[in-house]
Structures are given as C-alpha cells and as structure tokens.
C-alpha cells in the first residue's frame, strides 16, 4: 500500500496542488498583490477569452498554429526516416536508430544555443555566404533568425528523431506477408504502400504527432533564444507574467488555458500513446 501511496502523494503535492492553486489565482480567490484582498472575479478570464483584440488570445492562436505546423512537418520528416530504418537499414537497424536518437539525449538548451550560433546575423550560415561571395559582406538573411522560421526550424529539429520512433516500431512489426499478399494480388510498390503500409502505420503516425504536439504547446526556450518579438509563443507570455512583468492572476489564466489545451489533446489522441501500464500484467509475461 505504502509503495503506491508515496509516489502518488508526491505527484499530488508537487504537481496537482500547484495546478489547483493556479486555478484559484486565475479567479482571484488567492492574490499575491499586497494591499488587495482576495475576491472571486472572472475579469481576467473574460478579458482573455472575449476582450476585443486581446493580444494574448492572438498569441495563443498563433502559437497553436506554429505547434500544429511543426508537429505536421516533424511527422512528414520522420516518416521516410522510419521507413528507411524498417525496410532498408536491415540487420543493424537498432544501431542506426540509436545514431538518430543520440542527439536527442544531449542538452536541449545547448542544441538551441548551437542553432543560434548557426543562424545568427553574423553566424555560421551568413558568414559562410559572405566568405563564398554569395552575399555582400555584412548583409545577413533577414528571416534566418529571430523569426517564426527559426523557431519552427529548431522545434522541428528537436523533435524529428523522436517522432520517427513510434512510426518505426509500427513499421518494423508490420506483418511482411501482407505486403507479399498485396503483391501477389497484383498491387505495385506504390499502391501497396498507399493501400497497405501507410494505413497500417497510422497509429504510429498519430502517436508521433502527439509526442511533438503536447510538449511544444508550452515551449518557451527556443523563442527566447532564436525568436524575435513577433515569434514569441504562448509559453513566453506565461513566463513573462511570472517574472518580468508580474501579474500572477493573468498568468494563471494563461497557464490554466495551457493545461486545458493539453487535456483536450489527450482526450482526442490519448488512446494512441497509452502504454500497457493500466493492465496488471503485460501480455505473455
């Protein structure tokens, strides 16, 4: 009994109680502003949800679009990779998979800093173009950094290898006899892929999509380092309300919105990422 209660209680205290407190803050039921007393108020919620031209709501939608585009691009980029691993890489595919995943296990912050070095106005790409005489010295490509492009590129970079994983697992476990059967029944390679392999790999694709979607909804590190004023994400607004320009009540509204978004995503896609943890014993164990 103790073995189940201790870790559960830990998560409740360190994670769930804080989220409840954020909820109370967002309705003004607790306040940290000296001299004001706490009273129930929906003013920040209604400002965020219905206020005309609310900048944070605008940023929320932009952020969601960036997240969806990045997740979609990561799936498109990862699919051929997973396909290569499953069908071309052969006997050493697990070693090759490790080669792909290894950068993922190095510091995320460091890799973002490295991208900043690459994309900077006097960074690796621009200075290389100057050296090669392809661009006039001192003239940097304007959209290369501090843009939505740079933020999206870094997020795509960070997640591509990880998305390949669930797709690879599905493709690798695909019953090859089905492909032979499709061929025997007269299907070419393309139509076998489109009508057998692709549909059967969709659960892996969905899982990969969610693997990017959920963590990137709260992303704020990449925009801090390679984003400009117009490419800050929703996570940056939350961060700002709790540090630079403190307004915990408004910040709590945004943080709780993010929690709600994640819950909606889980309701929509949760079944693709559920493990076998809910079963008392794994099958065949």
């Amino acid at each position: 009994m103790l073995t189940a209660v201790t870790p559960s209680a830990y998560v409740v205290i360190v994670l769930l109680v804080p989220i409840v407190l954020i909820g109370l803050y967002s309705f003004g039921l607790i306040t940290n502003v000296v001299g004001t007393h706490a009273a129930f108020s929906t003013s920040d919620w209604s400002d965020f949800l219905t206020g005309a031209g609310n900048p944070f709501r605008g940023r929320f939608f932009t952020s969601m679009i960036v997240t969806l585009v990045v997740s979609g691009a990561a799936v498109l980029g990862a699919y051929p990779l997973a396909y290569f691993l499953a069908f071309v890489a052969g006997r050493h595919r697990y070693t090759v998979l490790l080669l792909i995943l290894a950068p993922f296990f190095t510091s995320y912050l460091l890799r973002v800093i490295a991208w900043q070095v690459i994309l900077n106005n006097n960074g690796v790409i621009n200075s290389a173009l100057w050296q090669l005489g392809l661009r006039a010295h001192g003239h940097a490509i304007s959209w290369l950094i501090y843009s939505k492009f740079s933020v999206a590129l870094v997020l795509f970079y960070a997640w591509v290898p990880f998305v390949a994983l669930p797709i690879f697992v599905v493709l690798d476990n695909l019953d090859r006899r089905l492909l032979d059967a499709a061929h025997d029944l007269g299907a070419g390679r393309l139509s076998t892929f489109l009508r057998v392999t692709l549909p059967m790999s969709l659960p892996g694709v969905a899982a990969g999509f969610v693997f990017v979607l959920i963590p990137t909804t709260g992303e704020f590190i990449a925009p801090l380092l390679v984003g400009g004023p117009s490419s800050q994400l929703f996570g940056n607004s939350i961060q700002a309300f709790f540090s630079d320009t403190p307004d915990w009540q408004y910040g709590s509204v945004l943080a709780l919105t993010l929690v709600a978004v994640v819950l909606v995503m889980l309701a929509l896609f949760g079944r693709f990422i559920g493990g076998d943890l809910t079963q008392p014993e794994a099958e065949g164990a």
Binding site: V12, A102, L110, A114, G123, G218, Q239
Partner: protein, 278 residues
C-alpha cells in the same frame, strides 16, 4: 517482393544521410568552435586554440553552477529511482486498489508543460511562505523524472519470474528481505538506466530551474542561458557545451552497451537447462 525498390533505396538512403547531417550539424558546430581562437563563432575559422576551455574552467560562476547541477542531478537520479521502484512494485501487483488513479498520477508529469509546473511551484512556495531554493528545483526534477523511471523499471520487473521471489519466501525470507536480496539485484540494469535518465533530465533542465533556483546559486543550464546572451561569454559556453555533449554521447553509448550485455546474459540464462531437470 522487397518493400523498397532500387530507386526507393537510393532516395531513402540519401534522405537518411542528409538527416543525420542535419541532426549532428549543431553538435559539430559546437565542437569546431570550441577550439577556434576567434572571439565570434563565425567563418572563417581562425587558429586552433584551447584558451576557451581554460577561461571556462577559471570562470567560477560556471564551474560552481556545474558542480551544483551535478549534485542535484545525482540526488535526483537516486530519489526518482527510489520512488520509481516503489511505484513499479505496486503496479506490478496483480491486484491494486485504484490502479487507474495511480497510473494516471504517475504519468501526468509527462504531459504537463514544464512552464506550468514551474509557475505552479512558484505559487505553491509563495503560499507556504518558503523562499525559492535548490531543494525546490530538485523537487520539481524528481516529479518530471518519475514517469521515465517507472517506464524503465516496470517492464523489467514484469519479466522477472515471480516464483523466484516465492521460493525465497518459502525458505523463510520476509517479503522485504526477499525483495532486497532477490528482486532488487535482478532489477540492477533497469535501476542503472533509471538513474542515468533521471540524472540527464535534471542536469539539462532549464524551465523549472530558471524559476526556482535562487539568483545567488543558479544551476548550470541557467548560467548557460544567461551567458549565451552575452557575446563575450559565448565562446566559453561553447567550450563547456562541447564537453557536456561529448560526455552525454558517451553516456548514451555506455547505456546501450550495458543494455545489450544485460540482454545477452538474460538470453544465455533462458537457454540454460531448467533447474528441475534431472
């Protein structure tokens, strides 16, 4: 029929090669510019130099932050693994009251954005009247490491033959003794992986630490972030970063070799004749 034709193979292989290049490019850039004598990480490359390493290691802000992060990561590895073992043991049981609740609680940290966890903990500490501290950073790191720890330990626990434990108890060992002397040693490789994963998560973690580490004692990622915004300090960041990256890659390889060795040993044991034979 092969699933991929000759053209397909060529196209996929080329794509794979380019993607590997893309994935490793930032790492290579850090390694190259760590040894570049120029003050700005840009082309053309100046002469070979190790001066950034010596200036990085004489920067006490950076080195003390590294030490701090190393300690937090080590304690986090132990704490998350301990909680992970507890959770895994209860989930491996055939019967567990409120199993869905326990599973949900343990997996929740995987989906809660770190920024929400971070500001939530700031609010919690404020309500309790406690100042931000490295202990708070550690508390946050343990909660985000816990699900990974359970996901590593539980599958291993399930492959263990329950009858070994029962045999120990039949021979008079208490449940705790049987667990300590029989189950725990068999869990060895999984515990090691869990420790490594939790260590890495904590050592690299920026979001939570940036809110909860007290200004006077920042963790290494926090220093990394603030230094990277100061052009004069960027080469030092790159030098230290290149060391950390090489060590992380070595760790990944070490973990993989350890996993393979453990797997081979398990296979060898499975092929051995059962004890009851003869």
């Amino acid at each position: 029929m092969k699933a991929v034709g000759r053209t397909g193979r060529a196209v996929l292989s080329t794509y794979f090669g380019l993607l590997v290049l893309f994935l490793y490019a930032p790492l290579i850039v850090l390694l190259v510019f760590a040894f570049n004598s120029g003050n700005i990480p840009a082309l053309p490359i100046k002469s070979f130099s190790t001066k950034w390493f010596s200036s990085a290691f004489s920067d006490t802000t950076l080195t003390s932050a590294l030490l701090r992060s190393f300690l937090i990561a080590a304690v986090n590895g132990l704490a998350a693994t301990l909680l992970g073992v507890m959770a895994a043991v209860s989930l491996a049981r055939r019967r567990l009251a409120l199993r869905t609740v326990v599973v949900t609680l343990i997996l929740i940290p995987l989906v809660v954005p770190y920024i929400v966890l971070a500001v939530g903990m700031v609010v919690l500490l404020h309500q309790l009247g406690i100042a931000t501290s490295l202990a708070a950073v550690l508390a946050g790191h343990v909660v985000i490491s816990l699900p990974y720890s359970v996901l590593v330990i539980l599958p291993r626990l399930r492959t263990l033959d329950a009858s070994i434990n029962e045999a120990a108890m039949d021979l008079g060992a208490s449940e705790l003794r049987a667990f300590w002397f029989v189950t725990l040693p068999l869990l060895g490789p999984a515990l090691f992986s869990s420790f490594l994963i939790a260590f890495t998560i904590s050592f690299d973690e920026f979001a939570i630490a940036s809110f909860l580490a007290p200004p006077g004692s920042p963790t290494y990622p926090v220093v990394l972030y603030s230094s990277s915004r100061t052009p004069a300090l960027l080469p030092e960041v790159i030098a230290i970063g290149s060391i950390v990256i090489v060590l992380s890659l070595a760790l990944v390889m070490l973990a993989e070799v350890a996993r393979r060795t453990a797997e081979r040993r398990l296979e060898a044991r499975a092929e051995a004749p059962p004890l009851t034979a003869g």
